[in-house]
Every structure is written in C-alpha cells, then in structure tokens.
C-alpha cells in the first residue's frame, strides 16, 4: 500500500478546471482516466452548428483513490459549453456508473453544468435519464454516489435532477443548485418573477447556503479543494441505503418542507422560520459562523 498523499496547495474549487479538481481531490498520482483526450472522442454533433469540439467532450472519467480507498470519479468542465450534457459527455458518466455497479465501487460526481446541451438536446436529455437510472441501480446495490457542487456553471437543469438522486451532496457557497436557471425563469415568466441580474437574489435562492439550510445538501464547505476532499472522505464513510424506507422518509421530509416554508416569499423568510437570529446577515457570514447559525437547519440524514 502506498502512502496516501493529497496535493496540499490551496486551490479555489470555483476557479479550478475539471482536471485540476480531480488532481486535488484524489490521492496524489492515483488517477487513471478512461477514454482520455488522446482518443479524441468528441461530440459528433457540434460541427452541424460550426462550434468547436473538445477532446474529452467536457467530462473526465476514471478511477483513483480517496484516502486510500478506490473510487470512480467523474468531473465536468463548466467552461466548455457550460459543462452541458451531450451524447458523449453523458455516455461517459453512464458508463462509469454502470462500472461502479459492476465493480462495487463508490463514485464521486463533480458537477459543473448548466444542464442539457441544446445542440444535442435529445441525446442529452436521454443521457440524464440513463444516468439517474444507473445511479439508483448503484445505490440499491449499497454503493455511495456522492455529488460535489461548487463550480462556475453551478448544477442546473438535468444536472440538478441527477444531483437529487445522489446519496450525499457536498456544496460550497458558490455552488448553485436549481432546475431552471435565473435567465430561463426571467425569459419565460418575466422580470417581475425573477430578476436574473439581481445576483444577491440568485445566490439567496439557489446558492449553497440556502440549499444547506433547507436540507438540499448535506455538507457545506469552503471554496477550497482540500475542504471538498475532506468532505468527500467523510461522505464515503457513512454508507447510505436506498430503499423504500429512505424514500418514505424523503417524502415526509419534502412534505414537511412545503408545510413549513411553502408560503415564504424569499429565502430570508425561510431562514427566519428556521430560527436564525439575523437571517438577512446569512449571505455575509463566513463559513464557521454560518455553520453555527445553521445549527437548527433542516437535514436530509437518512432521507435522501
């Protein structure tokens, strides 16, 4: 057994590339990629739109070790096509999840995605469905599927639905988790419904702090690769089941959320209901103070 070593250089998860995140997340030198860029498996559909391709189609999948334990890892590159799911991109993750089931290995998904890639929308949409099915199959076999959210593109659209099937979610303040993006809501329902240029509103409604407070994520971490690594190690330690008991608990948890917060106009109202003394200060709180203030948050333990 080789000595476990992580890169200990400070790295902003938000700013880092997909490959930098993998290098910082898993044990140093342990990562081996499947279908790497040298195989040039690029999107066959972008040429129709005269758009440039990327050698890995915006996702890196492979195996590595986390604190000595073997894991499978997928990481999206949010700067290429917004990290969106196309045919190849999605199929690489589908394959990795099926491999996880076959090899009985836990899997980490480093989300950084705007959702389905419109230039190959049908293929992307089906990839999302195939991935969700593969995640549930892996989870029913007792495996952990852990999602990490803190990239530039956030975790939107179909990506957010995939996240919802994970056994555990780790999020940073910068991580946004939402189905419809701010611009999509504004375009479809008007600026009165959602002003996408109001960045404070976007973070408050979709950002990591709010998601952690309502139980939409399980761990809240600094925007630091080492913090994500630590939380991922913890997440793999407590195994999660996926059965009818968990589903029933989730039903009760989500019903309770509607009863408790269903009338709220804004995230601040929800935070006040949670008993946070100065709810409007939440966005400004540093991580330590935020976690103390979040003591009475809703959580999804055994209900995800």
């Amino acid at each position: 057994m080789t000595e476990v070593a992580a890169n200990n250089i400070s790295l902003s998860w938000y700013e880092a590339s997909a490959r930098q995140r993998i290098d910082a997340l898993v044990d140093s030198g342990s990562f081996a990629e499947f279908i790497g860029p040298e195989l040039r498996e690029m999107s066959p559909h972008l040429a129709i739109f005269d758009l440039p391709e990327q050698f890995d189609d915006g996702i890196v999948v492979g195996r590595g070790r986390l604190d000595g334990s073997p894991v499978l890892v997928a990481t999206q590159e949010g700067r290429f096509m917004g990290g969106a799911f196309g045919e190849i991109h999605g199929a690489k993750l589908t394959g990795l999840l099926r491999a996880a089931l076959a090899l009985k290995q836990d899997i980490l998904i480093l989300f950084d995605t705007g959702g389905v890639r419109l230039q190959e929308a049908n293929a992307g949409e089906l990839a999302i469905a195939e991935i969700m099915r593969a995640i549930i199959e892996a989870r029913c076999a007792g495996l952990n599927v852990v999602g990490l959210i803190g990239g530039r593109a956030g975790c939107y659209g179909g990506g957010s639905l995939i996240a919802g099937t994970c056994s555990r979610l780790i999020i940073s303040e910068q991580g946004r988790l939402s189905v419809s993006g701010p611009e999509v809501i504004e375009t479809n329902k008007g600026i009165e419904e959602f002003d996408s240029r109001d960045r404070a509103l976007v973070w408050r409604t979709m950002g990591g702090k709010h998601r952690y407070l309502i139980g939409g994520a399980d761990a809240f971490v600094d925007d630091e690769a080492l913090a994500f690594r630590g939380a991922a190690i913890d997440a793999l330690r407590d195994g999660r089941r996926c059965d009818m008991a968990v589903l029933e608990a989730e039903q009760a948890r989500l019903e309770r959320r509607l009863q408790r917060f269903g009338e709220a106009e804004d995230a601040v109202d929800i935070w006040r209901t949670l008993g946070i003394a100065d709810p409007s200060d939440v966005p400004a709180l540093p991580t330590g103070a935020f976690l103390r203030a979040a003591n009475d948050r809703e959580n999804a333990d055994d209900a995800r």
Partner: protein, 105 residues
C-alpha cells in the same frame, strides 16, 4: 471550423518522459492544447481546429515562433480553439511543453 496543419523541424526535443499532456479549455477566447510524444525528436506537428476563420497567417507566425524558441521536438500537438488571441495561444503552448516535461507521479 477552419483546419490548419503545420509540420516543422524542431531545433530542440521536448524534455521529460510523459507520453502526453493537456492544457486549457475550449471556450470563447480560450483553447485547449493536447501534446503527444510520438514523433521523431526533430519534428513537431501542430494541427488546429479553430472557430475563428481567416487567421492562418497569424497561426503560422505563432507556431513557428513557438517551435523555434521552445523544446517541442517529438511532439504531435493538437489544438481546439475557441477564438483565442495570439498571446493566449503562445501562453497555452508554453504551458503545454512545461507540463509534458513535469516528472511522472
């Protein structure tokens, strides 16, 4: 997409022993550079797919300067370009040869 190909004689061969390296990302004003060590030590090829049409002369100048000044012999270099400026291209190429020289872990 516009495709460009260069095959140049390289005065110095690439250092290190890594078989390949990749740097950058395909985004607006950015590019990715894939380097593979699989050519004779005095040859460097550079294949470019670019979203910005009509800049063949600029690419010609940038890649000739790169091969003349850096250690690029033996490298097959492939570029997907999202319309990067010449200085960004030069930076990524330099990052690429540095990366393929890094010791293997």
């Amino acid at each position: 997409m516009e495709k460009l190909s260069f095959r140049l004689t390289a005065p110095r061969s690439a250092g290190g022993s890594r078989a390949q390296a990749i740097v950058g990302v395909v985004a607006s004003g950015n590019l990715e550079v894939l380097l593979e060590r699989n050519l004779p030590a005095d040859v460097c090829t550079i294949d470019i797919a670019t979203a910005a049409h009509g800049f063949g002369m600029v690419w010609d100048a940038v890649v000739r300067d790169f091969v003349a000044r850096r250690s690029a012999g033996g490298l097959r270099i492939s570029i997907n370009d999202g319309g990067a400026r010449p200085d960004t291209v030069a930076l990524r190429l330099a990052q690429g040869v540095r990366k393929i020289e890094e010791p293997e872990r």
